[in-house]
Structure formats: structure tokens, C-alpha cells
């Protein structure tokens, strides 16, 4: 009887933890459905704040510590395939990730957990290097700040400056 009660309590706690944050739930809902023809995986949802879902909470997909999308230019959302993203932690640890054909990259906590503030540079095709002007203060999702359209609250999506413009 005591064992059954214990199991019931654990089950109740698990269920409660799965849906106990309405703010998180609404943030996930706000991202909308998957794009047509794109299934869940490394190439889905380019330009969205990855860690909204990949946050390591119970039931979430794979946990990312830093993740985002690099685009080729400021004007449209052509992905930068094969860009190398270098992350420099405040404790001088570094990590690198290469973007896929959707422009997405991600790093897991096992690979790299940054101490903030973190610096970021992006190299593309060996001839373009973009250094993020400011540091990242605490948020591992690029797209939490880099939202479109560019305006007073955002520099817009992350892009490599193939035309000489700093992202």
C-alpha cells in the first residue's frame, strides 16, 4: 500500500511538472506549427528561439546550451550553410559549431556550457568573419534577441556580412 502511494505521488509530481508553467507553454505555442514539408530535426524552425523548447525541462527535446540560425544577408532568409560559429565563454572556454543547410547550429551542455557574458564570431567560406558587436548576457537562443524586423529592440536576424555590413 505504501509503495502504491509512493508511485502515485511520483506520477502526480511528474504530471504536474509537465504542465506547470503556463508562460513557457504560451511561448511554445506562439512559435506555431512546423513549416509544411519540414519534419522535426536539425533543420526545422530556422530563425526561431531554439531553447524555448530545447531547454532541458522534463519531456523537452534534446537540450541545447547555445543554438540559432545564421542567414546569408540582411534582406532575406537565405540560410548560410557551412558557417562556423565560434563561442567564447567568459572563462575563456570556446566551442565551435557549423551550420547545416537550414543555417541552424546547436551546442549541447555536454559539449559546452558558457559562462556569461559570451562573445560570438561567425566565419563563412574562410573569407568572411563577423564578430558580434555586443556580448551575449545570458540567453543561449540567438533568436530571442535577433528578431525580425530590425528596429529599436532588435538588430534583426543574424547574417554574415557578405556585403560588408556587420550583423
Amino acid at each position: 500500500m505504501r509503495t502504491l502511494l509512493f508511485i502515485a505521488a511520483c506520477l502526480a509530481a511528474t504530471l504536474a511538472s509537465l504542465s506547470c508553467d503556463p508562460v513557457h507553454d504560451s511561448a511554445v505555442d506562439a512559435l506555431g506549427a512546423e513549416a509544411p514539408g519540414v519534419s522535426k530535426g536539425p533543420k526545422h524552425r530556422p530563425g526561431q528561439p531554439c531553447i524555448t523548447c530545447h531547454d532541458g525541462s522534463l519531456g523537452s527535446p534534446q537540450h541545447f546550451s547555445v543554438a540559432g540560425t545564421i542567414f546569408l544577408n540582411q534582406e532575406d532568409l537565405t540560410p548560410a550553410n557551412g558557417a562556423t560559429v565560434t563561442l567564447i565563454s567568459a572563462d575563456n572556454n570556446t566551442a565551435q559549431a557549423v551550420t547545416n543547410s537550414a543555417g541552424n547550429f546547436y551546442v549541447t551542455p555536454q559539449q559546452f556550457t558558457p559562462a556569461y557574458p559570451m562573445k560570438v564570431t561567425v566565419d563563412y567560406t574562410g573569407r568572411v568573419r563577423a564578430k558580434m558587436t555586443s556580448h551575449v548576457g545570458r540567453d543561449g537562443s540567438c533568436a530571442d534577441c535577433h528578431t525580425d524586423p530590425a528596429g529599436p529592440t532588435s538588430a534583426g536576424h543574424v547574417f554574415v556580412p557578405v556585403d560588408g555590413v556587420t550583423p
Binding site: T133, V136, R138, A150, G151, S154
Partner: protein
């Protein structure tokens, strides 16, 4: 019997209502000043710009205090911009931090804990740790952005010098 009861009840109700009316009118005389600010001894705005530059750089990224929804909202070239009609201010744009943005940062800082800020300024900044502004970046109080200042470092010297009335602009720029 019941008529007398209702008379007493009505009298009691009138007494309660009139007491509440008097109390509310007395309260109405004690409303805060219409400008809503209670800083009595504010630190100097004229010498705040180097301190603002430090706070913008260390605290004002878009994922921290460069967010419109956050306490101690900070504007600046590398973070949140103060939107002006038709201007081209963008985070990390070529438009440098404006004087209006420095003023907004000043108001954020002095408005955070105005009474304590007044006290610290009156004391000549002998105990700046009264301020959350100092305790959080020093890691003395829980801070989601972590520990950003170390006791005695140039950042602490910068902010403290401003609170003491003699901003050390050189140290602020380090």
C-alpha cells in the same frame, strides 16, 4: 421592535459610511507628488554619461537589462534603442548612444531605490552596498545575470565615484 432594529442598523451604516468618507478624504490629501518621483538627493546627471556607458556595456545587452520589460531598463548603442519617430537607431548601428538615452538610463538607475539612493548619496557613498544596483552585480544578492563586478574593481570604483559626487571617468572607461 423590528422598526427600532432597522433604525439602529441605518444609524450604524451611516456612521460607517461617513467615517470611510472622512478617512478617504484625509488619504486624498496625502497622495504622492504628481511627478511620481521621490528622489530627494539624486546623484549628478551631468556626470552620469561615463557610468551610463559602463552599464550599457556590462548590463544592457538585449537579453539582459536592454529589454523593455525588465527592471533597470537600459538603452544604448549595443542594446535597446529609444525609439524616435522616423530615426534609424538600431542595436549596434552607427547611431551612438544619444543624450536622451543616457537620461533614460539615469532615470532607471536613480528610480530603482530612490530613498536608499538618497541615503547613499547623503552619506558620500560610504556604504554603496545599500543599493541593489551594487549588490546584484557583485553577487551578494541573487542575480540571474551572474556576478559581473568584483569588489574594488574599476566598475565598482566607477559607480561609487559617481554616487560620491566625483565621477572617475577614466576608470569608468577601462
Amino acid at each position: 421592535m423590528s422598526g427600532r432594529f432597522f433604525t439602529r442598523a441605518r444609524a450604524l451604516g451611516l456612521f460607517v459610511a461617513s467615517t470611510a468618507l472622512v478617512a478617504s478624504s484625509v488619504n486624498a490629501c496625502n497622495v504622492p507628488a504628481t511627478d511620481g518621483r521621490v528622489v530627494e538627493t539624486a546623484p549628478d546627471r551631468a556626470t552620469f554619461a561615463p557610468v551610463s556607458a559602463l552599464l550599457e556595456r556590462r548590463c544592457g545587452s538585449l537579453d539582459c537589462h536592454g529589454q523593455a520589460s525588465r527592471n533597470l531598463r537600459l538603452y544604448g548603442n549595443e542594446g535597446l534603442r529609444l525609439a524616435q519617430e522616423g530615426d534609424a537607431s538600431r542595436p549596434s548601428s552607427t547611431v551612438n548612444t544619444t543624450d536622451a538615452e543616457v537620461t533614460e538610463n539615469y532615470l532607471s538607475v536613480v528610480g530603482l531605490e530612490p530613498e536608499l539612493m538618497s541615503q547613499v548619496v547623503r552619506e558620500g557613498a560610504s556604504n554603496p552596498l545599500r543599493l541593489t544596483l551594487m549588490r546584484k552585480p557583485l553577487g551578494i544578492e541573487n542575480h540571474k545575470g551572474g556576478t559581473l563586478f568584483q569588489a574594488g574593481d574599476s566598475q565598482v570604483v566607477c559607480v561609487t565615484s559617481w554616487l560620491a559626487g566625483h565621477t572617475d571617468a577614466v576608470t569608468c572607461g577601462q
